[in-house]
């Protein structure tokens, strides 16, 4: 059944479901100014608007972290559940069984997914739950103030944390070996690519893992970075004051050519190298996907683009013989077996 929706004002442009971009908005962000996560929330809003999504048909999930806060910053008209740290996958899986016509959007962080959440992440992927799973990857724990996450590069040196001694976890590789059916990577500062990937991912029937490099302007802050904030022209006296978070601009890069590598400087002066997948790259070839990821790893590139897609794979729902009607709308007459059936059981268990 349908209830009349608040119609949008005629002045602003409505999409095919009669909604304007602002119908996809959320509450104002409480993240740091310049945080990559905000850029991603904006692209989710745009992608949903452009895809003519009915917000009530989306359910948002997240764990705990700055990234996991962001579901409140888009799609206010969608249900959402901000669950436990690292344990969003199980929550989403259980909830989406309630109504298979709903689409899940999960937002997680690298700590949330690759540290405490590794197990649930891998098993969610393996189960191919139809859901878009976004990792806002900044290599640190933002919300707890800048400790290394499992995706931090080896040798990275951070304020108060020292040097990271471990090899980073590659979210895309992890997804791939766990048999993900859609794997992509992008960069929060590349809005066009982010949006296009989000649109493709949302349309995928199965789990769509998107690893988005999303710099933490506040804590991805190398101790000895040339560009670290200093007071005075001689650059000699870094402030060394973790209670201050200078407001910064979000990083945006121009769209760049497929197949090429581009350097991007982060707020702390460190540099990441993005490599856009070739135009003729075939994302249905698993071997190729593994190869490019491993190659990128060895070259210290971050491959961006849609790395792998398998549109055919059955989802977890295909393993169950469920009615098309939402399970959560079934009424007692369809849930409680008839009285006679119990009498029959009593006979079976009887003398």
């Amino acid at each position: 059944m349908m209830i009349t929706q608040e119609t949008s004002s005629p002045r602003v442009q409505a999409n095919r479901v009669g909604l304007t971009r602002s119908d996809y908005r959320g509450l104002p962000s409480t993240l740091c100014q310049g945080c990559g996560h905000n850029a991603i929330a904006n692209q989710i809003i745009s992608a949903m608007y452009e895809l003519d999504v009915v917000p009530e048909k989306v359910v948002k999930f997240s764990g705990i972290g700055c990234s996991s806060k962001s579901p409140t910053y888009f799609l206010s008209r969608s249900f959402g559940f901000n669950g436990l740290h690292g344990r969003m996958p199980s929550l989403a899986l259980g909830a989406l069984f309630a109504d298979m016509s709903l689409k899940g959007i999960g937002v997680s962080g690298d700590g949330d997914t690759a540290s405490i959440g590794m197990g649930q992440f891998k098993h969610l992927v393996r189960r191919n739950l139809p859901m878009m799973y976004i990792v806002e990857n900044n290599g640190v724990y933002g919300l707890t103030k800048g400790q290394f996450s499992a995706t931090a590069e080896k040798g990275l040196s951070l304020k108060r944390q020292g040097i990271n001694p471990y090899m980073p976890i590659d979210i895309c590789l992890e997804a791939l070996v766990a048999n993900a059916t859609f794997v992509a990577r992008s960069f929060a500062g590349d809005p066009k690519q982010v949006k296009e990937i989000l649109k493709a991912a949302f349309s995928h029937r199965g789990i769509a893992v998107i690893d988005i490099i999303s710099p933490c302007v506040t804590f991805h802050n190398q101790e000895n970075s040339l560009h670290s904030y200093a007071w005075g022209k001689d650059h000699e006296m870094p402030l060394h004051d973790i209670t201050f978070v200078p407001p910064r601009e979000e990083i945006y890069i121009e769209d760049f050519e497929e197949g090429t590598v581009r350097e991007v400087e982060l707020h702390d002066g460190s540099v990441i190298m993005l490599k856009k997948l070739d135009h003729d790259y075939d994302p249905t070839n698993l071997f190729e996907a593994l190869r490019v990821l491993e190659e990128a790893k060895q070259n210290n590139w971050l491959i961006t683009g849609i790395i792998y897609v398998n549109p055919q794979a059955p989802t977890i729902f295909d393993a169950y013989d469920l009615p098309a009607e939402p399970l959560n709308r079934l009424t007692e007459d369809r849930l409680r077996p008839p009285r006679e059936s119990l009498e029959h059981l009593n006979q079976i268990f009887g003398a």
């Binding site: 901000n82 899986l93 959560n328 369809r334 268990f349």
Partner: protein, 616 residues
């Protein structure tokens, strides 16, 4: 355990009057040998004859080759708790042969596999060697199945010697093998051959025997896990998440066995449920809570270690007000403990589960009928209160077979609680000045109204979370809002007192003292009460079936000079909770608690209470 009961040599037969339907048979085998089937058939045959009977399986935490015991108690008077001595032993395991004999009463009976070459040190018993190998050899059995078939031999011999109705045995076979005729026939052939051998070769020299009894109409024989699972099936469970763990696995497996048939949608013929084997218990809890939040009747079944892993997630469900049902089939803890033994040791942990202030509705089934009833009713309570309901069963109740009444069809329609779908919300808004808040208490009972994902009303959506929030589910760190919300939840939980099953009360005229117990210890306590009465001590009995406590408990405490709280754990956990809840009666409470992994016996209860009363 008890000391060997070796007395004077058995005098030939004279003056031993027959002992009918009132003794205990223990079968000693190794696990993986298929003896569980044989024992089950013996049990069911006796049940079929109308005899009150219980079976307790004492098995090791491995798969094959270690000692296992199965004790069948027949009790004319219906005492079905465990007892510590055996009247009859069927000894199939050389490794425990001598030790097992220690439990045999003077005058008891020993059936044994005659390939066990041990000197029998007791002269005060009746012995019947069984030529197991020979009988098996005579049947044309493939080599790899000989061990299995050996166990059918004792079924035949014991049945013959105790006068068990062979037709009842046949019926039991049919039930066990679900009508598969080949299996029934081949097993029957061995049993019959063994019975015939016994009839021809053994002379009855003992007083034990069975007789059919006019059974109260329509008893059933079932394990508590299956009963609970069937309850959940009739309760309309829609998502069950689990991770394998003894003794809870058979709960989920019973769902998988019965739901596909019973829970076909009458309209589409599709399944109206999903059962998911999760990657662990953290995930099982998460799946169930996700589903419960989204409006499914959701549950998880587990045991101690898995339950510990659910602490964080259940705290979320409590605070975000998500209905979910968790069955904890208790085994012996702490830690991995004794995975195949029984206890009631998770109670205080469950009560205080999760950091911060929490409270849970806890249901305490005491028999298979309550497993069934709580199986469905738990969902009604959880959805009404929008909160987790924890059902604490145990290995003894869950995995052993128990006699029960026929299951009663749910006597109340499903209570789905305060859920607003599109029209409901529209109406609600009209009636409430356009205002609805997920955590807003409009009825004054602390229970708010909830909407469910998929609701297309543009005002229905809200954002759930485990962090502080106001009546409209908005994030909040405001001190007053936090306190108001948490107090409302406490107020909400007060409704539980009118929703949970009341205690069962059994009184005796003039009794001054009482017993409080719960769960699987019921049969032992019933028997203990009678034994104590024989000693001149009348005791009233209140069997708790839920937490929070209902008013009957205070009344019971008020009405008795002192009250023994009997339970299967070390620390007297229910005694602790009662003390806490009833400071005014705290000094009337006396703890009678122990845990060794075995089901409670009446004898232990009687000894402890008698000693504490200064009797004897």
């Amino acid at each position: 355990m008890i000391t060997p009961q070796i007395s004077s040599p058995l005098k030939e037969q004279e003056a031993r009057s027959p002992i009918i339907n009132d003794f205990c048979i223990t079968v000693a085998t190794v696990n993986g040998s298929g003896s569980a089937t044989s024992n089950g058939i013996l049990l069911r045959a006796l049940f079929t004859m109308g005899i009150p009977v219980s079976g307790k399986n004492i098995f090791p935490s491995n798969i094959q080759g270690l000692p296992t015991w199965y004790s069948i108690r027949l009790s004319r008077k219906g005492y079905l708790g465990r007892i510590e001595t055996d009247d009859i032993i069927v000894a199939m395991n050389p490794a425990t042969f001598l030790q097992d004999l220690n439990y045999l009463v003077p005058g008891g009976v020993l059936f044994y596999d005659d390939s066990i070459k041990v000197n029998i040190p007791r002269e005060d018993i009746v012995t019947y060697p069984m030529p197991v190998k020979q009988i098996v050899r005579q049947a044309d059995v493939p080599a790899n199945l000989r061990d299995y078939v050996a166990n059918m031999v004792y079924v035949g011999v014991v049945a013959q010697m105790l006068n068990i109705d062979l037709q009842a045995v046949q019926r039991a076979l049919a039930v066990h093998f679900k009508g598969k005729q080949k299996a029934i026939d081949s097993n029957w052939a061995i049993i019959k051959a063994a019975a015939d051998w016994a009839a021809a070769n053994l002379e009855k020299r003992d007083p034990y025997r069975v007789e059919p009894m006019p059974a109260p109409a329509n008893r059933i024989l079932i394990d508590g896990n299956t009963a609970g699972a069937l309850g959940a099936v009739y309760g309309g469970f829609q998502l069950a998440a689990w991770y394998p763990i003894t003794p809870a696995s058979s709960f989920a497996e019973a769902l998988g066995e019965y739901a596909p048939e019973l829970r076909k949608d009458p309209i589409t013929g599709k399944h109206t449920f999903a059962i998911i084997q999760a990657e662990d218990e953290l995930a099982a809890a998460g799946m169930a809570i996700g589903a419960g939040w989204a409006g499914l009747r959701a549950m998880a079944s587990t045991s101690g270690p898995g339950f510990s892993l659910m602490a964080e997630y259940l705290g979320l469900a409590y605070f975000a007000e998500v209905p979910v049902v968790i069955w904890d089939i208790q085994r012996v803890g702490p830690s991995t403990g004794l995975p195949t033994r029984t206890a009631q040791g998770d109670l205080t942990f469950a009560y205080f589960l999760g950091h911060g202030d929490t409270q849970y509705v806890i249901l305490l089934p005491g028999n298979v009928n309550e497993c069934f009833e709580m199986g469905w009713r738990a969902f009604d309570i959880a959805e009404r209160l929008q909160t987790p309901v924890l059902v604490l069963s145990d290995l003894d109740l869950g995995m052993n077979m128990h006699i029960g009444e026929p299951f009663e069809y749910p006597d109340t329609p499903m209570d789905r609680g305060k859920v607003l779908w599109e029209e409901d919300l529209e109406r609600f808004l009209a009636e409430h000045q356009g205002q609805w808040g997920r955590y807003l208490d409009v009825d004054g009972d602390g229970i708010p109204y909830r909407t469910l994902p998929g609701n297309t009303h543009p005002r229905s959506a809200y954002f759930a979370r485990g962090t502080g929030h106001d009546e409209f589910a908005r994030y909040s760190e405001e001190p007053e809002i936090w306190e108001r919300n948490l107090k409302r939840i406490a107020r909400k939980m007060e409704n539980a007192r009118t929703l949970v099953p009341k205690p069962v009360l059994q009184t005796h005229p003039g009794a001054q003292i009482g017993i409080i117990a719960y769960g699987s210890t019921d049969p032992a306590i019933q028997e203990a009460r009678d034994l104590l009465l024989e000693k001149g001590m009348a005791i009233d009995f209140l069997r708790l079936r839920a937490l929070p406590f209902t008013e009957e408990v205070a009344e019971f405490l008020r009405g008795h000079a002192h009250v023994y709280v009997v339970e299967l754990n070390r620390d007297g956990q229910m005694h602790q909770l009662l003390t806490m809840a009833y400071p005014e009666y705290a000094t009337r409470l006396r703890s009678v608690a122990h845990v060794d992994g075995l089901p409670l016996t009446a004898r232990w209860v009687v000894e402890r209470i008698a000693a504490m009363e200064g009797l004897r």
